[in-house]
Amino acid sequence: MRLHNISINNLRRRKGKAIFLVIGLLIGVTTVVTLITLTRSMEEDIGKKLDELGANILIVPKSHDLTLNYGGLQFSGVALDVQPLHQSDLGKIHSIKNRENLSIVAPKLIVPAKINGREALLVGADFQEELRLKRWWKITPPDSEKNSHSSQKKSNPMNHSQTMDGKSAFFLRESLREKDLLVGSVAAHHLNLAEGQSVDIQGQTFQVRGVLEETGSQDDSLIFAGLGSVQKTLGKPGQLSLIEVAAFCNSCPIDEMVRQISEVLPGAKVTAVKQAVESRMETVRHFKRFSVGISAVVLLIGSLIVFTTMMASVNERTREIGIFRAMGFRKRHIIQVILLEAFLIGLLAGVMGYLAGVGSSRLALPFFLQFQESKIGWDLGMALSATAISVTLGLVASIYPALRAAKLDPAEALRAT
């Protein structure tokens, strides 16, 4: 017979009370594990989605005297005395150490070209990557331009069905061909271009597959075509003007990515679009703070449950404590018995709470994430943390009841009913 036998036997033979105590703590631990697991997955998901919302790294040729103003559209010297980027640079970018953090690598060749007799900026782009990068692009519904372009729309019924009611251009990415054009709203207006129209560029025929809705950005004034066809038509095989990169920077330092890309592309100027990164990180931080706040409240409630239950349990055992004291148990023996029970309850609730938390997270995740890419796995670190929190909580909540029990007057305690 040791002190721990008293604790274990009490829990074993008073199953109802033990289960009640375990449930009190288990609810708290389960909720916290569920919240943390869900918010982690959601953070990851939000981070991924945010990282896909436009580029956060811009790669342009290194230049001492030229300003490549993509946003302001001052492109007069873009192809002059700078060493342009090359198609083969894409492979180098994909070879960096943090390559798994690369989400989108969107190369572009930007060149002035005569279209319908007027100067315009033609952008050769990898449609697959470009449309992933610019998910906000929408195709203007042909109906809105019915009067002026009804004949062209009729000639291209497939496009019509795909782009009706301003659908996301993202869904076009599989069907776009090299010689298809996506035209910015301002450019379409000035050059009088409409969906389905054929356009002659440097002797090559291209077809307008869609007019983009106004974005408020430089894209409104640009005309996008397949990268390969622009390179070929304008005699710039393999050349690139700039590369936009969207990196998953939720879990990596953006500066480190910039450094790695600079290393593999010594002739290029690699810049982090800090504003984009910061605002994304801020969003994720807000979300994190929210989940930490909720977890703290739940933990507080959980510990209050344990505290009140332990207090009630000690009160019920007053006479028993009196018997122990009459037999010569010291105060610390009483504290040991009660804290050992709290430890065992905490341990059990921690392990079960972790399992229940992971289980309920798996059930709940589909309701929170639209496109469920994240999977919830077993996390030993979290299991240990959950158990440690549960045990600590159980012990902390039981310290006062244990001390109170130890201080009971033995003669008074023996008289308790």
Binding site: M1, R2, L3, N5, I6, N9, N10, R12, R13, R14, R319, E320, G322, I323, F324, R325, A326, M327, G328, F329, R330, K331, R332, H333, D409, P410, A411, L414
Partner: protein
């Protein structure tokens, strides 16, 4: 030197703002191997006396010496050690721990004596043998009759070889036949050298005692 010396022991309680004396200047000496029956009407201070002797309740005044040691001058947890080393309690309502088996209840006082951890089961079984309950060692208290539970309580009081057994109405909850069995058991222990101080209402029990201490209004009567 007597085993137990009570000198001018008083104990006061506060009741409705007034001080009530449970014991008043009580003097009593108990020799080794004595069997004393403490009698008296309700409220005469019998249980208070037993609690003071057992180190459970500090007297308001006076001195309790056991083997020459002033018990209530002991510091810290020494009073708990005194209870463990010197006292075996037998309570009227058995006071067994409901979730421990009979054997575990008997072994309970040994749980805090590390040197005796090794052969606890052996000691427990031997004591249960003495009270005739070894075959029920694995049962829980609620599976035993009142008399059997009282015997378990006696076995528990014996297990650490305490020189003094304090019994509070040990037959109070038992029928007369079982009561006589319990008294026979206590008498046997006393014959073995243990000092017994027993509080009782039952005059029949006094025939087992060497001496009767009659309490009245917190004082030893004539």
């Amino acid at each position: 030197m007597s085993l137990i010396e009570l000198k001018k022991i008083s104990k006061y309680y506060q009741s409705d703002g007034e001080q009530v004396a449970a014991l008043k200047d009580l003097n009593l000496n108990v020799e080794v191997g004595e069997f004393i029956a403490v009698m008296g009407p309700s409220g005469s201070g019998k249980s208070t006396l037993l609690n003071i002797l057992g180190g459970l309740s500090q007297p308001s005044a006076g001195e309790l010496s056991v083997e020459g040691i002033d018990i209530y001058q002991l510091k810290g947890e020494k009073l708990a050690d005194y209870r463990r080393e010197y006292i075996g309690f037998v309570f009227q309502s058995f006071q067994l721990i409901p979730y421990l088996t009979i054997l575990e209840n008997v072994m309970l006082p040994l749980a805090i004596i590390p040197s005796r951890n090794g052969n606890q089961r052996e000691i427990g079984a031997r004591v249960l043998q003495k009270v005739g309950l070894v075959e029920k060692a694995r049962r829980l208290p609620n599976q035993l009759s009142g008399g059997e539970q009282e015997r378990v309580a006696i076995a528990r009081a014996l297990v650490n070889n305490a020189p003094i057994i304090l019994a509070d109405e040990p037959t109070g909850n038992l029928d007369s036949v079982t009561g006589r069995e319990i008294m026979g058991l206590l008498q046997g222990l006393n014959s073995g050298g243990q000092t017994i101080i027993m509080v009782t209402h039952n005059p029949e029990n006094t025939r087992y005692a060497h001496r009767i201490v009659q309490l009245k209004d917190g004082q030893v009567g004539a």
